[in-house]
């Protein structure tokens, strides 16, 4: 009966979402605070009901209730408990329910914590949020119902796709969804501001934490997905410019631009219309990502379902929300009061440049991803737009954005002193140039790109450190006092510095790819194989039995010269229920680099075909992502007031000190 209670709760949630859409917008129109208040109660009711539904599905998966189609198709009694839980979102229906739960959670947060907001703004935002809920509830109930039953129930489930039986599944999708769906709040508030025709600092102050939560989690989600792909797909790639990955990159780029422009709006009351535009853009890309992944337009690990009915439904949702919001934007944006002007050389000006670069990069990803799909749909011609295109366009733009980042970060609000900033950053520029030069010398005539990237990375890292030092210390200040001053700096500053530092780390990790080594060979027992500065020796091959799989494990020793550095155990796993094999790479982290070995099935005479890689600094890619997310979290924790003027006096003093 629990299953049916969950199902009924989902149907009731649709009613609550309808109420959340209709009543508060009516209330906002009539100016009736009580009717506007229904927005909050309906949002909380919807949250409660969706939580019941989700809990019912969790229960069905945990107890292996194969009378539920979703459980029978995606679980198995022998699957370990953690994958019984993560398997809930390892399939189409369950992942949509998770999407909805997160949407309801964000709606509930606005209902609970939106007290300082003008009532009409909150009512309209909750109404828009409710409308998104209605669309996705209808989609789930009518085309992707996780509570569909099987009668008679089979005795065993069909098992979770072995590729998905990995801790990565427990982490990657929920984070990504928290990011995607978090931008729905930003979108709802943008739409509400447009409906009301006014936007003010309260708007920016309230939206900013939501945008930061969404952005931080999206960053972590993308990093987790990339790391998962890295160790599970067997050839050590971490980013493939696969349409599904691009689908998560686009909202991230738009969201990054938004997080920056909303800072300008909060502090300087400028860039209002542009910020609204970015808010709409970020969530539109989230929806586009959902469409690309869920509609079956793409076939990949991510495409669980290939049901054209679903594709059409999601396309309709996509068209409604994107076209609707842009129509609203075109109609209402001219009504919004414009903010103040500012000089081109200023923090604001630099942020505008950052926004331009990020949105252009986003546009290149958009066309690179959708053009081949559209072309195939229209003419049947198949073309592949791959890494070369994206590296040359999006990659270059992002590299450019990273190279001006430390300069923008050092500029003062309102009007900055470019020369002074460059003087302050001399050390960073020098360090970057040295790194690039050393890299180029090391590569000797190879691709220069990795060397340039390394240079930019060092520039960014040193630049963000310098900014901390400059703010906390001036000549003649005792170190202890400087340290206290550093701790006294606003959290939002620390957050920004840390996030920029993270960008540098990621860039450095990416640059490391150019300095790696790769060997594809067949390993014989006892015969060492060179890969980069290390050698790998196959010691033995053995079999092991896991809870629901058997694996062939090749034990290997990694040596540097004669010293043993690490022992690794790459494996091939054979899953009985689906007759599928997966590769478990053998990884050894040495400093920040990794030895990466993935094996194929051993030959009858005990040799093991294998790919061996040495990837210097590769872990920095994900450390950088985590650092960026941590920066977002720090900035989020800062609830102080933000005014652009506060920086002027201090920046002036600092420039004077530097001169």
């Amino acid at each position: 009966m629990i299953v049916e209670i969950g199902h009924f709760a989902l149907v009731l949630a649709l009613c609550a979402a309808l109420a959340q859409t209709i009543v508060p917008s009516l209330g906002a129109r009539l100016g009736d605070p009580v009717l506007m208040g229904v927005g909050q109660s309906a949002a909380l009711t919807q949250l409660a009901l969706v939580t019941i539904a989700f809990a019912a599905l969790v229960n069905a998966h945990l107890t292996s209730d194969f009378s539920v189609l979703n459980v029978a198709e995606n679980s198995h009694s022998a699957v370990p408990t953690i994958y019984k839980i993560s398997g809930i979102w390892g399939n189409h229906e369950g992942s949509m329910l998770l999407w909805l739960l997160i949407l309801a959670i964000f709606g509930g947060l606005v209902a609970l914590f939106g007290r300082s907001l003008p009532r009409a703004l909150r009512a309209n935002a909750l109404a828009v949020q409710g409308l998104i809920g209605v669309a996705f509830l209808l989609f789930i109930l009518l085309t992707s119902n996780p509570f569909e039953r099987l009668d008679p129930a089979p005795f065993e489930g069909r098992d979770l796709n072995p590729v998905l039986q990995d801790p990565g599944l427990a982490v990657h999708p929920p984070m990504l969804y928290l990011g995607y769906v978090g931008f729905s709040i930003v979108y709802s508030f943008a739409a509400a501001a447009l409906i009301e025709g006014r936007i003010d600092a309260a708007w920016a102050r309230f939206v900013r934490p939501f945008a930061l939560v969404a952005w931080s989690l999206l960053t972590l989600g993308i990093a987790a997905g990339s790391f998962w792909a890295y160790y599970t797909l067997g050839w050590g790639g971490f980013w493939f410019w696969d349409p599904v990955e691009n689908a998560s990159l686009m909202p991230w780029l738009a969201g990054t631009a938004f997080v920056h422009s909303v800072a300008v709006m909060e502090k300087r009351d400028a860039l209002k219309v542009w910020t609204i535009f970015l808010a709409i853009l970020a969530f539109s890309f989230s929806l586009l990502g959902t469409f690309l992944v869920r509609s079956g337009v793409l076939t990949s690990v991510h495409a669980f379902a290939n049901d054209p009915r679903r594709g059409v439904f999601i396309l309709a949702i996509l068209a409604f929300f994107i076209l609707g919001s842009f129509a609203l934007f075109a109609w209402r944006a001219p009504v919004l009061k414009q903010g103040g002007l500012f000089a081109p050389v200023s923090r604001e000006g630099a942020l505008v440049l950052n926004n331009l670069l990020l949105t252009t990069a986003c546009a290149t990803v958009f066309f690179g991803t959708l053009y081949p799909l559209a072309l195939e749909e229209l003419t049947g011609e198949k073309i592949t737009v791959g890494a070369p295109f994206f590296n040359a366009t999006c990659g270059l733009l992002l590299l450019a954005a990273a190279s001006v980042m430390p300069i923008g970060f050092s500029l003062a609000w309102k009007r900055g002193d470019l020369l002074g900033v460059i003087q302050r950053l001399t050390a960073a520029i020098a360090a970057g140039a040295v790194a690039a030069g050393a890299g180029a010398a090391w590569l000797r005539g190879g691709s220069i790109v990795a060397a340039i990237m390394a240079g930019v990375a060092i520039f960014v890292i040193v630049g963000s450190l310098i900014e901390v030092v400059v703010r906390a210390w001036r000549p003649g200040l005792a170190p202890g006092l400087a340290l206290r001053r550093a701790f006294g700096l606003p959290l939002s500053f620390w957050g920004a510095a840390l996030a920029h530092f993270g960008v540098g780390l990621t860039l450095l990790g990416l640059a490391g790819v150019g300095f790696g080594a790769e060997t594809i060979t067949t390993l014989h027992k006892g015969a060492p194989v060179e890969v980069g500065p290390y050698s790998v020796t196959l010691d033995s091959i053995g079999d092991r039995v896991g809870p629901n799989y058997r694996e062939t494990v090749a034990a290997m020793t990694v040596r540097s010269g004669a010293t043993v550095v690490a022992m690794i155990e790459p494996a091939r796993r054979q899953f009985a229920a689906r007759q599928m094999a997966t590769t478990q790479a053998g990884l050894a982290t040495i400093h920040f680099g990794q030895i990466y070995v993935s094996i194929a099935d051993p030959t009858p005479d005990g040799d093991v075909p294998a790919r061996l890689y040495w990837k210097p600094l590769v872990t920095l890619i994900w450390f950088g992502g985590a650092t960026m997310a941590l920066g977002g979290a720090l900035s989020l924790a800062d609830r102080r007031l933000r005014f652009g003027v506060a920086a002027r006096a201090r920046a002036g003093a600092v420039v004077a000190a530097a001169e």
């Binding site: 199902h7 649709l14 009539l30 009378s67 300082s116």
Partner: protein, 368 residues
């Protein structure tokens, strides 16, 4: 009981949603002081003051921050506030009624359409453990499968379940079970041949290279094994080596003990291969076997055809189907399948070339 819970949930949802209306005092023009924009800036000014008192904000910065907030406060105040309409009780009542009536009216029919209210939960723990003795074959299979997941090295278990899979038409599972049994229990001619048969069945009636290998190995182990010889002859027939096939079938019949039930099936294949009318079956000896075998092959082919028609397939699968029709002397169907394959695989030049070559070999006529 169930409907009580449902009614309770619906009532809860409706009441929770209209809660603000229920507890509201009669409509009054309560302004919105705590949340208007001037109030926001006033609150900011207070916060600046608090920060200064706590020593978080240096005096100089506080002064400029205060100036900025005050500037915005003045500009926010100068905007004339929108005159709010007097709230009307009618609208609140209407909204409450809409929710109170709307929730059951939307939820109950929708749930009645989508849900299965009578169906209880069936968590695995509460279900009777399946056993081999159970009359329910699926339950028995699940029991053995569970056992084999726990103990994948139980060769006997694989040997038991393999023929059951065959009967359930789960040919791929059958082939896997046979191969596990062979791996764990050691070589056995008859089992090796059964493995080959499962492979043939899984391939829609075509003797694949892997199956052929299995039959050869079975014959090496147990010379003269009729099942293996039959499929090898069938393989020759499917490869278009008609003479070899005829020779093999004939020698198979010659070696057979006269009461073997499969002889008639072989005779029938042989006759159709030679283009003779099928031999009158001896009513005494003919069992269900030959028809059953023929039906089985035809069944496999039609399943393959259905699968390809609805889901598409690779060139190999299409060619397998075309070949199978030719072998069954269904030239029309073979031609139709060829046309379908050309349509389905049209974008792939290599595939079409391969199909053309096949059509030429089988004498089905060249492209259109």
């Amino acid at each position: 009981m169930f409907w009580f819970i449902m009614a309770g949930m619906a009532a809860f949802a409706a009441l929770a949603a209209i809660w603000p209306v229920l507890r509201s005092s009669p409509p009054s023009r309560d302004a919105d002081p705590a949340t208007s924009e001037p109030a926001f800036y006033t609150a900011q000014l207070d916060e600046i003051q608090r920060d200064v008192e706590r020593g978080l904000l240096p005096q100089g910065e506080a002064a400029s921050a205060r100036a900025e907030a005050a500037r915005r406060l003045i500009s926010a105040r100068s905007e004339a506030p929108k005159p709010a309409l007097p709230p009307r009780a009618r609208w609140r009542l209407a909204a409450a009624a809409l929710i109170a009536v709307g929730v059951p009216v939307v939820a109950l029919p929708l749930y009645a359409y989508l849900g299965r209210p009578q169906m209880p939960d069936e968590p695995l723990a509460s279900r009777p453990p399946p056993s081999l003795a159970s009359s329910n074959i699926e339950a028995a299979v699940a029991g053995v499968e569970a056992h084999l997941i726990a103990k994948p090295d139980d060769g006997k278990g694989w040997a038991v379940i393999a023929p059951v899979y065959m009967r359930l038409e789960r040919y791929e599972d059958a082939a896997r079970a046979y191969s596990e049994a062979l791996r764990l229990l050691g070589e056995d001619g008859a089992r090796r041949a059964a493995y080959g048969e499962a492979l043939v069945a899984a391939a829609g009636g075509v003797v694949t290279d892997k199956a052929r290998e299995a039959f050869m190995k079975a014959l090496a182990d147990e010379p003269g094994l009729p099942q293996a010889r039959f499929y090898l002859a069938l393989a020759a027939e499917q490869d278009g080596e008609k003479d070899d096939a005829i020779r093999d079938y004939e020698s198979l019949i010659a070696d057979a003990s006269p009461d073997a039930r499969w002889v008639d099936a072989v005779k029938k294949r042989l006759a159709s291969l030679k283009g003779e009318p099928p031999p009158q079956a001896d009513p005494e000896a003919s069992a269900a076997a030959p028809e059953a075998q023929q039906a089985m092959i035809e069944g496999m082919v039609s399943r393959l055809a259905n699968r390809l028609a609805s889901n598409g397939g690779s060139v190999d699968e299409w060619e397998r189907l075309i070949r199978a029709y030719t072998v069954l002397h269904e030239a029309d169907k073979a031609k139709a399948a060829l046309a379908d394959a050309r349509k389905a695989l049209a974008p792939d030049q290599n595939a079409v070339a391969s199909l053309d070559a096949l059509a030429h070999d089988l004498g089905l006529g060249d492209a259109n």
